[in-house]
Amino acid sequence: MAEVHINQITKSYGNDQIIHGIDINIQDGEFIVIVGPSGCGKSTLLRMVAGLETITSGDISINNQVVNTLEPKDRDIAMVFQNYALYPHMSVFENMAYGLKIQKLAKSEIENRVNNAAKLLQISDYLTRKPRQLSGGQRQRVAMGRAIVRNPSVFLFDEPLSNLDAKLRVQMRLEIKKLQKRLKVTSLYVTHDQVEAMTMADRLIVMNKGIAEQIGTPMNLYEHPQTTFVAGFIGSPAMNFLSVKTKDNKIEIPVSGKILDIKTNIEQPEAILGIRPEDIEIVDSNSSDLKLKVSAIEPLGADSLIYGNSEGFNDDLVVRVRGKTEFTEGDTFHVYFKREKLHFFHTITRKRLQAVA
């Protein structure tokens, strides 16, 4: 159990700065997910906490102790790797016991801890097997077990579910979350999968190009994204963006010429309007904000996605409707944007604008 404080951390390889000053304060027992596209520096950040990468500047403290120069083994952490990193020549038991053996714990204590962890993870039957005789999901459990037996202050997960198939991933993410709630160990979890991030996190950190774009609860990020990047990254399918004109406290959609009936205090002449696919309604021409032509339809079962296009658009606008849709390609339809669900962003800084007065 521990608090983790990350203070103005940076990382450079030569002249190449890849992490630009990140600040995070993690509460005791919190489940923090770091999410971002590949190459955003999320794994590097995690590895710096683990002590596998050196820190260029800034401080990391665990349990109020600065750990910048400590070896990984002295940081009171445990890590689960993407490819599990099990020792192939050791049995499941030996894999889990290896760290404890090095700590020179008593044999009975080691057996005790490994058996308890195995029971918790339901791998007691496999303790004598070698990793290659296990399925991906079982290997993942062993890797978790190896972390649990160490009884660490902090769990670090580096994309632990990416090598599993989709069904198992859903199952394991639920189990990891439950396990963490039960053990109440502070956890840092890195993933590129926003669904994983949304479902598991107490708080989310969205990273992009070495900076933390936004930190907050999943719903907070979903409802109040502070940048277009966060808005586009969280939620699937991604948020739609339109450029709009603002004048005299009014907002105009240039493509349709429609002036939205909301007041705004945006001062710039142009802004980016963001609207999620599920916040767009299909309506008749009377209350239309925009007229679109269907370019593609994706039925998902419970929902359908309609991709609509209009002259003057670069990208299709995605609309999510419940159930099936009667539209076919080439049909035209009218959409209405739910006013309370509109997001506005600055065209240059891409930061959120508080639009409604």
Binding site: A50, L52, M79, N83, H89, Y98, G99
Partner: protein
């Protein structure tokens, strides 16, 4: 590939049989010759069927050696060869494992330079540096010792490279997992790297044992004490034995003895040997 063409099957078997004959016939002649007495071996044609002198010859060769050849009993030479081959194989493997470990896992100054220095030794086998090496061994008073026989042959770039390749295929995450588990570098080497390179070590042991066993020029040069002779050089000494007709039956018996240990090593380690050279999955 599954094919059913009788002619192809016949032809490929024929080729294989020819190959086996070419390899096996000299071995057979050696064996047959070792089972006859000296008189039969001087008559023409040479025998192609075994005689009844095998045990007599074996006893003579193992324990009393060839009269007038200046060679000790083959038993002593076999023992010397065995010690030399094992020292060379074990020494080469230990040194190569450690140097490959250093090169792959540590960042130290002039790492690349050291790597290339090891690489360059590929171009300098014992035969090339035989005189200076002899001088060094002589100055260190290692003539006529097991260390003198083996140490100059131990430094090995090939084995270092092989282990380097093996270590490079081991995922970095294993090292990181071991670091988090608290393993020191040597502990990682002992607990993770060694067991994971087990099959490669076995394969290399087979190759290096045979390499050491077959050494001829170097033992010939540095051994003057007949009790330090190795069997491979001993055979050739027997041929030049004291201006008399070569005792073919005894020489062939010695050759047979000299062939056995490498064959036994290969047989015992066959499975690991194949695994070590072909297995890629870690």
């Amino acid at each position: 590939m599954i094919e059913n063409r009788p002619l192809t099957t016949f032809f490929s078997h024929l080729v294989l049989l020819c190959g086996v004959l070419v390899v096996a016939f000299p071995l057979w002649v050696t064996f047959v010759a070792s089972t006859h007495d000296a008189v039969r071996m001087t008559q023409v044609p040479l025998p192609l069927l075994p005689g009844n002198q095998f045990l007599v010859n074996l006893k003579l060769v193992l324990f009393s050696g060839l009269e007038g050849s200046g060679s000790p009993p083959v038993g002593i030479m076999l023992f010397n060869s065995l010690i030399m081959a094992i020292l060379i194989a074990v020494g080469k493997i230990s040194i190569s494992l450690l140097s490959a470990f250093a090169i792959v896992y540590f960042r130290f100054p002039f790492r690349i330079a050291f790597f290339w220095m090891i690489f360059v030794t590929l171009m300098l086998p014992v035969e090339v540096r035989i005189l200076p090496t002899f001088a060094v061994v002589a100055n260190l008073n290692m003539l006529d010792t097991y260390w003198g026989l083996s140490i100059p042959l131990i430094a090995s770039a090939t084995a270092t490279f092989m282990f380097r390749q093996v270590f490079l295929t081991i995922p970095d995450e294993l090292l990181e997992a071991a670091r988090i588990d608290g393993a020191s570098p040597l502990r990682f080497f002992k607990d993770i790297l060694l067991p994971m390179s087990r099959t490669n070590i076995a394969a290399l042991f087979v190759i290096l044992f045979i390499y050491g066993w077959n050494q001829y020029l170097w033992p010939l040069l540095i051994t003057t004490d007949r009790d330090m002779y190795t069997v491979v050089m001993g055979i050739s000494q027997m041929l030049e034995a004291a201006e008399q007709a070569p005792d073919w039956h005894l020489i062939m018996m010695t050759a047979l003895m000299a062939m056995l240990p490498p064959a036994i090593v290969v047989l015992i380690m066959q499975k690991l040997f194949v695994k070590g050279l072909t297995e890629t999955e870690k």
